[in-house]
């Protein structure tokens, strides 16, 4: 319990540090951040009023305090561009990003774990000799390029899938849930999810394989054989169960990192998600929106890093019952 409290404290420290970094980072922005917002027709007084509204007339220290107070209250300001609250925009696209991430990472890890375990079992075979370089090659491919190739072949070439977006134009739905469970949404989801899954599967696959190779050397696997236990039981309940520990941690870490890392895939497929919102906001100097999106991505990443630590101690009795 004590170690959990320490880890939690460290997480808070990291959250504070990243938020602070973010604050200063966005003050590095070239020029006056309100310029993009302020119309040339605005009077000087209107401009001053706007600067006051965004707190830009106060000292850096006051701005810093105000920034944290806003973050605590979930108040991220208003988008320069759309004039809508940043919070609303983020919550509108968050489900899309989570759906894409959850689906692709689940496929990647289920596939990676199974194939990784199988390759470890088949060590020294032709399957291994060809499989490893292939996996490494897929891992070396830029996600956005994989996405471009899939788009060119399956969307533009064969016309099997739509070329972008999360829903066809003109469709209306009663609720977010209804929209996200519609066949149209799933149809749009397949290509980006496949791209991400292709990119993500390498890590769990290689990790699982190398863990399995280690675990298969362990005495308890030899003992399980000597006990005459069925082969499937040795493989799944003894070898794979132990080899899976670090993979589960990697899954939690990957989930956190992928939310921010989706940036390029969301751009390629015009997927209305958090990453694309960030890219558009940065490109359009929409600094409240960029800051809010960044903050959310960082929050998910940091919380998942913490969850990964916790998961490990839950799954490994050597840590949990130290």
């Amino acid at each position: 319990m004590r170690s959990v409290a320490i880890r939690f404290g460290q997480m808070l420290l990291v959250l504070w540090a990243v938020a602070t970094l973010l604050f200063f980072l966005f003050r590095l922005m070239p020029g006056d951040p309100t310029l993009a917002y302020i119309d040339t027709t605005f009077t000087a007084e209107q401009q001053e009023a706007l600067k006051r509204q965004f707190g830009l007339d106060r000292s850096l220290f006051e701005q810093y305090i105000a920034y944290f107070s806003n973050v605590f209250h979930g108040e991220f300001g208003t988008s320069f561009r759309s004039k809508r609250p940043v919070f609303d925009i983020i919550f509108e696209v968050l489900p899309n990003t989570l759906a894409l991430t959850a689906l692709s990472i689940t496929i990647a890890y289920v596939f990676g774990v199974l194939v990784g375990a199988w390759l470890a079992w088949k060590r020294g075979s032709v399957a291994e000799a060809l499989g490893i370089p292939l996996v490494l090659t897929l891992r070396a491919a830029p996600e956005f390029w994989l996405g471009m190739v899939l788009l060119a072949v399956f969307a533009f070439g064969l016309g099997w899938f739509p070329s972008g977006g999360a829903n066809s134009a003109g469709m209306t739905y009663g609720s977010t849930l209804e929209r996200m469970t519609s066949a149209d949404f799933l149809h749009h989801l397949i290509l980006p999810a496949a791209t991400l899954a292709l990119y993500l599967q390498g890590l769990p696959l290689l990790l699982m394989r190398s863990n399995m190779l280690d675990v298969l050397q362990e005495d308890y696997v030899m003992m399980a054989r000597m006990k005459g236990l069925p082969e499937w039981r040795i493989l799944l309940l003894h070898a794979a169960r132990n080899a899976l520990l670090p993979v589960v941690t990697a899954f939690a870490l990957g989930l956190g990192a992928s939310v921010g890392g989706n940036v390029v895939v969301e751009t390629v497929f015009s997927w209305p998600g958090l990453g694309r919102v960030l890219v558009d906001a940065v490109a359009g100097s929409d600094y409240p929106l960029a800051q809010g999106a960044f903050m959310f991505i960082a929050l998910i990443l940091i919380v998942m890093n913490f969850v990964a630590d916790l998961l490990y101690s839950v799954l490994d009795p050597r840590v949990a019952h130290g």
Binding site: E218, D219, Y220, M222, M223, A224, R225, M226, K227, G228, L229, P230, R233, H238, R241, N242, L245, L315, D316, P317, R318, H321
Partner: protein, 340 residues
């Protein structure tokens, strides 16, 4: 008829540098209710031989020759399923370090349960009862079955491993250096438990060890291996008190006596030969202070004396005289300089 009889067993390991002949002439017998010690330096093939009796060998190991006759059946040459059927029900194993032999992610009790139910065909309640009984038998508190292996001390883990080996009342327990990883006091306690249970249950034990004092303490008979070959075997008393092979003479010198303190320590100089390219003739000749020209040319056969005391040495007949010489440490130092 003995319970287990191994004849001229040969096991090779495929390595990068070619075939390694880990066991070449493995010959031993274990009678019902007997404790047989299998001794030799590390790397002499004793562990390979012992593990091979379960049929569970590393991927690169192959049985090249010989037979393993258990309860009248030669296990080599029978389908693997038949061998596997015997495992744990008839033949069980106590590993060297039970830290790694118990699966770290399952409770110790659950691991007992697994073997009792899957291999022993017991029901849930029966298995639980038997687990408690086994724990008490080896001197463990049954309540600790809910703990994980890393929460046990080394001695407790070894006791748990012994309990697990006895779970299905096997005929033969193979114990591979069961106490080597423990400190001396705990060694004695675990050996006492093992010997006591062996006598009570009438189970046979093949005890692999490099420690002559452990052999002297618990074994009825001894088999001595050197460089993959059995060089001497007989009753513990015969082999330890009137050794017939110079290697055994050197080995008994190298260990302090558990009973009589103050024995001279004279380790055998040099190291065992490269088993990828074993030398011609007697494999011990290189390090033997008594080696003759013949020893380097012809392999001595394992000759069994009428009292059952077997040895593979061309000079076995001179054993009593050589044994006297071997007690003088300078005999062994001389070889080391001449060998160098």
């Amino acid at each position: 008829m003995s319970l287990l009889s191994v004849r001229d067993l040969a096991i090779d390991y495929a390595t990068k540098g070619g075939s390694l002949h880990a066991v070449s002439r493995g010959t031993l017998e274990v009678g019902a209710g007997e404790v047989v010690g299998l001794v030799g330096e590390s790397g002499c093939g004793k562990t390979t031989l012992a593990r091979a009796l379960t049929g569970v060998v590393p991927r690169n190991a192959t049985f090249e020759a010989g037979e393993i006759v258990f309860e009248g059946r030669n296990l080599l040459g029978r389908p693997v399923s038949e061998w596997r059927d015997l495992l744990w029900r008839k033949i069980s194993f106590v590993p060297q370090s039970s830290m790694n032999a118990l699966d770290p992610v399952y409770r110790v009790g659950a691991q007992m349960d697994e073997v009792l139910r899957l291999r022993g065909g017991m029901g849930r309640a029966q298995a639980r009862e038997r687990t408690d009984e086994l724990f008490r038998m080896v001197g463990l508190d049954p309540r600790r079955g809910t703990e994980y292996p890393h929460q046990f001390s080394g001695g407790m883990r070894q006791r748990a491993a012994i309990a697990m080996a006895l779970a299905l009342q096997p005929a033969l327990v193979i114990a591979d250096e069961p106490v080597t990883a423990l400190d001396v006091i705990v060694q004695r306690q675990v050996l006492d438990t093992l010997r006591d249970l062996q006598a009570r249950l009438g189970v046979s034990v093949l005890l692999v060890t490099h420690d002559i004092s452990v052999v002297a303490y618990v074994c009825d008979r001894v088999v001595v291996m050197y460089a993959g070959e059995v060089v001497e075997s007989g009753t513990a008393r015969d082999v330890l008190e009137t050794p017939r092979h110079p290697y055994t003479m050197g080995l008994t010198n190298a260990f302090p006596d558990l009973e009589r303190a103050g024995g001279t320590l004279a380790p055998i100089a040099g190291g065992p030969p490269d088993l990828r390219h074993p030398p011609r003739g007697c494999r011990f000749a290189e390090r033997c202070p008594f080696a003759l020209a013949r020893c380097r040319a012809e392999t001595p056969p394992l000759v069994v004396a009428p009292n059952g005391h077997a040895s593979a040495c061309w000079r076995s007949d001179e054993a009593p005289a050589l044994s006297e010489l071997a007690k003088d440490p300078s005999t062994w130092t001389l070889t080391s300089t001449s060998a160098a």
